[in-house]
Symmetry: C2
Subunit: 338 residues, 2 copies
DNA sequence: AATAGCACTGAAAACGTTTTGGAAGCTGTT
DNA sequence: AACAGCTTCCAAAACGTTTTCAGTGCTATT
């Protein structure tokens, strides 16, 4: 048996309006009546129909997130982000609406469903593209969102970013300090927003150390381990191969380590390798991987904080935040050379 | 500008009813009209308000899940389960509504919100308790759900279970085959549904091998690593200490390994240790941990499949499924003794 | 004695959809 | 000429809330 406001109203001999206002805590209902209503609601186990409430009032206390359905959605990046987002959303009294979708049209459809369908108050985006249609859409309909990742093309939106350029600069400086002069980069796909930023960090890092940018030391990968391995093979087959390799993410760095070893070289001693992200298997690799740590879980929390402040109309001082990454030096970058 | 059925109806000079029925594909609207309506809807970028739809029709195409907000929700168990659930839900066209809540009353409140609030069609439960109030509640209101885990007290509900008794029996047999005679157990909390089942497996395993059940070889832990360590310390301090330890989960087993080493003994050689779950760090531990593997990701998928069939009114042959776990033998169980 | 203000309550509209139960206009049959 | 059956459409109700606006008594002020 379903108990609605009407049930309570009849039980109490009052109108639905009064019951609604009583339970909502308005001060224009007699304290005594309010308590009587509350008691009845309690006794009947009243639970408001949130769908109806959402339809009428404009908010849902729900945050939406669409996760690309790649080979595994169990990609630890998204899961960790999700953990942070979920944790913080819970603190603010929000639930999470999650949709796992194939990238492309199904993904965009999911955004439309959530937003135009009125199911969420705000969205959390990640894996921002250089030109991201999701941002176009959300801005065009004026729906609140925050993004993990800055896009150079469209940067007038609230985001949180890890300063990839800074991280890579630090890494290059670290390698230079260890005596490396030929430092290669395994680049991520060009359509990702962070790619040009990290590449820029690479160029700046070289420049700061007075090293020339050498086109042939930059090879493309697609973020998978196997692509990192393939890229490293190309690099190591060159006449004047690099002695250090910076990969745009850890997975590719791990692949590069495999390539180095297959070539009969020792990671760290002969060729230094580093990645970006600090995924769990970075520390567990042999040798452990030097990398630039992104605190994904914390980032998830921060994104929600930012979003909730926007939703409440009290946005934080600055919409666009860049946090400094942390260089984690491990054995894969070897030791200073003579 | 919001475009609703009304907008389209006015644009087309038709009633809202007809537009609704046209878009829903009913056959009592002229094909020509239908196409005209579809064209207008397309042109205006119509997106149905799902909240309104849910309020009227009884479906939400959403599956709910509540995750306990323990120290980390980033507990890899839940994240992996979530990955499987999300993946499979996506295949069936369902979204996921997620709520991260402190165990106890806030958790129950979240269930009520989702269910009585009409936000989800069905729920996925995990970490079943021996007597689980969530099951009581869901059964009392007659809301569809599936659970990962069988409860001995209330087992008339659809569940998927990994046969913990079988797993532990296999493990005990494995240890016996390796020459162990004093096999201890680090037990999980009594209020969890799987505890009595695993303990029963332990007793049966001993019995099958003609070994006596010795009360003093069973010590309680609370699933954390430190509790496993403490439990193992107690076991090893006994006059006639065990040569093999079975822990009810991997985390406690890892703790037990620490205790063994702190005692100056070698894991595998002096004391065999095994766990349950096969979490990622089990394989990565030194020595790698022998364990009973639960394919959490796959279980997530299967749970959703089961739930969706129930929702569609075409439940699978059997509501209650028990799958056999897989014994994964690694170095922590050592080698056969003479 | 009239009026103003206050405290409390309720009727009705609104949110955007789906569904129910016709109705209007045909065609064809008796 | 009446009726049945078909196709196509629509008005209105319903889902369960929240909100707007107005009404009813009552007390206090003039």
């Amino acid at each position: 048996m379903k108990v609605t406001l009407k049930t309570i109203a009849e039980e109490a001999g009052l109108s639905v309006t009064t019951v609604s206002r009583a339970l909502a805590g308005y001060d224009d209902v007699n304290e005594e009546t309010r308590q009587r209503i509350a008691a009845i609601a309690e006794r009947l186990g009243y639970q408001p129909n949130l769908t109806a409430r959402h339809l009428r009032s404009k908010f849902t206390d729900t945050i939406g997130m669409v996760i690309p359905r790649t080979a595994y959605f169990s990609d630890s990046f998204f899961l960790e982000l999700l953990a942070g987002v979920g944790r913080q959303a819970s603190d603010y009294g929000f639930d999470l609406l999650l949709s796992v979708q194939m990238p492309g049209e199904p993904e965009m459809a999911a955004y439309r469903r959530m937003v135009a369908g009125g199911r969420v108050d705000g969205m959390v985006l990640s894996r921002i593209m250089r030109h991201d249609p999701r941002i176009d859409y959300l801005q065009s309909v004026g729906h609140p969102f925050v993004a993990f990742g800055r896009s150079e093309e469209q940067d007038d939106y609230p985001y949180l970013d890890v300063d990839g350029a800074l991280g890579i600069r630090q890494l290059v400086a670290h390698f230079v300090a260890y005596g490396h002069r030929r430092i290669a980069m395994i680049r991520s796909p060009q359509d990702l927003a962070f790619t040009p930023i990290r590449v820029q960090g690479y160029r700046e890092g070289l420049e700061e150390s007075g090293l020339a940018y050498d086109e042939s030391l930059v090879v493309d990968g697609d973020l998978t381990q196997s692509s990192g391995q393939a890229a490293a093979e190309i690099l190591l087959a060159q006449p004047d191969p690099p002695t250090a390799i910076v990969a745009c993410n850890d997975l590719m760095a791990l692949g590069a380590m495999v390539a180095v070893e297959n070539k009969g070289l020792r990671v760290g001693a002969d060729v230094a390798v580093a990645g970006f992200d600090d995924i769990p298997s970075a520390a567990a690799a042999t040798p452990p991987l030097t990398t630039i740590r992104q605190p994904i879980y914390d980032i998830g929390c921060l994104l929600v904080t930012k979003l909730v402040h926007i939703l409440r109309g009290t946005p934080l001082e600055t919409d666009r935040t860049s946090i400094a990454p942390e260089l984690v030096v491990r054995a894969s970058s070897g030791s200073p050379r003579s």
